[in-house]
């Protein structure tokens, strides 16, 4: 139970005091009575009350004055003024002085019933006010703390910035201060080596060679230190683009072939012809590859072999650099990628020594790409250094191709076209032969397509798992793209492919999009190409069924969904029209006999609305109910099927209409 509320009553009239006390105590209040203002105020010195009820007219001190004093000594208590009839003005005055409320005495003491409520409400209001104030104070305190913390953070941040700036200034200053004397040493050494200053003995030549080798090493260390400082300061920004793994590895091998030959190390590249692309900063990946391969060459002695290969995995491409060198002790493997770690892998004399930073830099560069790097080794047998780069989804690659192509096209003010090829009935093929076999078929198709479009750089084929391919053609206009698309179609359809030992003939649906004739921006290019891609696939087709009969709606919905159409349903014409304001569909099946608005009316409204005017409609009529001529409909412009129909006939009709629509888009 809650603690009883204590009340001090200021009342000079004994009868009224008694009645009030009784009324309140009946409600669970504890009541003390003071018959004069003075007596009450004295009592307040020794006891606290939750509430004070003050009669306005006390014999010694006016009630208003008592109120004022209580407000001064007990600012948190509540006081309620009790006045006689006709004294409302005074009551309002009291409120201004801090009374929580006022009660007007009624001649028959009717006001007593209201008193408990008035007191409780006043206390509640007080509590609320108190809570609010506390909350406010808390908020202010929070705000102040926050402001303080912000100021601290700002200071710390500025300090960090200053330190960072100092560090980068220091690094660049040091590098500058080192490079100039190094250049002088290098120049004079070269002058001596080249005998510009006079003949040099064989021994002296050798010593000068050692000096030169160390100067070169020192300058590599400076380069690596700068690289490392840049990476650690977060100032390396990757310039990602589609990088073809094959040519990249080829280039790395080419640049290191002289080193390998000088060490009589065989350098082998094992890359499949259909190596995937990665979205990466080519220069940085090159740096990593050169580092790993040159290490492998350096730490492999006489007659050894260094092999560079890739493994395509589900989500990443793994690069492996394998040598037949001395190997690395297993306890050294984890420390390999730390800064300035050099182990008991000593390269032979005359081989440029490392900087102690190469692997640490490689690690960070790979990690910046979201990949991993590691080494495995068997002492005496050799090591394999591997790193991975995330493989990108075909969609991302496709977007990247379009982005790069559009950039080029805009810069050169020329055309960019895409050809969208999709294999008819790919889903069926997939169901029939399985994913693996059909993937192989797609690969074969890709090869044929590549051979057909081959006209130099910039043309790319992307393989889509849904049986689709996109060819991006730089500097090809609409007519050219269509000619190429038709050529691909002709060649592919004339060919026999083999799936699981069986001869398969493939038919292709083709579409093209061209910038700037059709698509005017990168965004549109993407959207239109993607839309046409999806258009090639039945599963993505959306059909709306408009019929007032729930059973028929459900039946058609299920039948169509089983055939991988996406189905929307509407129970009436207005329902359909409403949905179509925000839904895109490829086909509408429209029942004629509907209440509210019949199918013909709906048809007209559909054709009058720009968003739906181009959507084909199949009208479902009862036999002998065709009224198209009467209604001024040109039968060539719409399709109809008469009830009762065979489901097969309807589905065939749906397929035909969608296919017509598809080829009309080309």
């Amino acid at each position: 139970m809650a603690t009883p509320i204590s009340v001090l009553l200021f009342e000079d009239d004994e009868g009224q005091a008694l009645l009030t006390k009784e009324a309140l105590e009946k409600e669970g209040f504890l009541v003390d009575v003071a018959y004069t203002g003075r007596a009450g105020l004295d009592r307040l010195l020794t006891k606290d009350y939750s509430a004070h009820l003050i009669d306005r007219q006390l014999p010694d001190i006016p009630g208003i004055e008592v109120l004022r004093r209580i407000a001064t000594i007990k600012p948190k208590a509540i006081s309620i003024i009790v006045t006689g009839h006709g004294d409302e003005q005074a009551a309002v005055e009291a409120m201004k002085l801090g009374a929580s409320d006022y009660v007007i005495k009624s001649p028959y003491m009717g006001h007593l019933a209201a008193l408990p409520v008035v007191i409780r409400e006043s206390l509640e209001r007080r509590q609320l006010k108190h809570d609010r104030e506390e909350l406010q104070t808390e908020l202010w305190e929070h705000a102040r703390l926050l402001e303080e913390r912000n100021a601290e953070l700002r200071r710390a941040n500025e300090e960090l910035k200053r330190v960072d700036q100092l560090k980068s200034d220091l690094v660049s200053m040091v590098s500058h201060e080192l490079r100039t004397p190094l250049a002088t040493i290098k120049e004079f050494t070269a002058i001596l080596i080249d005998e510009i200053a006079g003949p040099v003995t064989t021994d002296q030549q050798e010593y000068l060679g050692i000096i030169k080798g160390n100067i070169d090493r020192l300058s590599r260390i400076i380069d690596d230190l700068l690289d490392m400082a840049k990476i650690e300061a977060g100032r390396v920004i990757l310039t990602k683009a589609m990088v073809h793994v094959g040519p990249l590895l080829e280039q790395a091998v080419q640049s290191l072939r002289p080193l390998a030959e000088s060490r009589r190390i065989a350098l082998a590249l094992q890359v499949p012809a259909d190596a995937p692309g990665v979205l990466a900063d080519g220069d940085k990946i090159m740096q990593v590859l050169v580092n790993l391969v040159s290490n492998a060459i350096k730490y492999t002695n006489g007659q050894g072999r260094v092999t560079i290969g890739i493994e395509e995995q589900t989500n990443e491409v793994q690069f492996n650099v394998t040598d037949t060198g001395v190997g690395i002790a297993s306890e050294d493997l984890p420390k390999l990628f730390e800064k300035f770690q050099r182990f008991h892998r000593t390269a032979e004399n005359g081989i440029a020594k490392g900087t102690g930073l190469g692997l640490a830099i490689s690690k960070r560069l790979v990690e910046l790409h979201g990949g991993r790097i590691w080494a495995a080794s068997t002492a005496g047998k050799g090591s394999t250094f591997s790193f991975t780069l995330p493989k990108y989804h075909v969609e991302e690659v496709f977007r990247e191709y379009i982005r790069a192509g559009m950039e080029e096209a805009k810069r050169k003010r020329t055309h960019l076209s895409t050809i969208i090829l999709s294999v008819d009935k790919f889903q069926e093929l997939k169901a029939l032969y399985g994913l693996e076999e059909t993937s192989r078929l797609l690969k074969d198709l890709e090869v044929v397509t590549r051979d057909t479009v081959r006209r130099g750089a910039g043309d790319v084929v992307v393989r889509w798992q849904r049986g689709e391919m996109v060819v991006v053609l730089a500097e090809v206009e609409k007519a050219g793209a269509q000619a190429i698309a038709e050529r691909i179609k002709r060649i592919v359809e004339a060919k026999t492919f083999h799936v699981n030992g069986r001869a398969v003939v493939v038919s292709l649906a083709i579409a093209t999009v061209t910038y700037p004739e059709e698509a005017t921006s990168e965004d549109e290019m993407l959207r239109m190409t993607e839309h046409r891609l999806q258009g090639g696939e039945k599963a993505r087709m959306r059909v709306m069924v408009v019929d007032d009969e729930p059973k028929i709606r459900q039946f058609l919905k299920e039948a169509l969904e089983m055939r991988e159409y996406e189905v929307l349903t509407a129970a009436s014409g207005p329902d359909a029209l409403e949905q179509l304001t925000h839904e895109r569909v490829d086909l509408i099946l429209l029942d004629v006999m509907m209440p509210v608005m019949n199918g013909y009316e709906v048809y007209h409204l559909l054709k009058e609305t720009p968003q739906t005017a181009g959507v084909p409609v199949i009208i479902i009529t009862a036999k002998g109910e065709r009224k198209d001529r009467e209604l001024g409909l040109d039968s060539a412009s719409y399709n109809y099927i008469a009830k009762p129909f065979q489901l097969e006939d309807l589905l065939a009709k749906v397929r035909d209409v969608l296919q017509q629509q598809q080829s009309a888009k080309l």
Binding site: S172, H176, R179, T180, E187, I196, A197, S219, K230
Partner: protein
């Protein structure tokens, strides 16, 4: 013989470059900063100028800019020899208008090759001969 003007504030490096290019068959003149270089250009009419970037008074960037904006010197090829890393050069708002940028410590042969390429073969005895 083609005349080269070498602008470098590090006297010992200047000396090394001078020895190297003289041995390669060029007449070399030297300036220790951009201001001196601008005076020298008027006097010696160089066929090519080799410029350090960080120098007192007028630095290499400013020197290149002035040489390019002056009609009489605008076509003289410039090779920049710099200790400033390429990314720092690329970050500047005004592009460095030099035919070639070599980074210190550079390769002497690379420097000689660059000079030969830019002034042409050493047969006619220079452009002012």
């Amino acid at each position: 013989m083609p005349t080269l003007l070498i602008v470098e504030n590090e006297p010992e490096l200047l000396r090394a470059v001078r020895i190297r290019l003289t041995a390669a068959g060029f007449t070399c003149e030297a300036a220790r900063n951009g201001r001196e270089a601008l005076e020298m250009v008027e006097r010696v009419h160089p066929d090519l100028i080799i410029v350090d970037l960080l120098m007192p008074e007028i630095d290499g960037y400013e020197l290149c800019r002035r040489l390019r904006s002056e009609p009489r010197t605008t076509s003289i090829p410039i090779i920049v020899l710099s200790a400033v890393p390429q990314h720092a050069i690329d970050r500047r708002k005004d592009p460095l208008e030099a035919a070639r940028v070599l980074h210190k410590p550079f390769d002497s042969q690379e420097l000689v090759n660059a000079v030969r390429e830019l002034v042409g073969p050493l047969t006619s005895g220079g452009r002012h001969g």
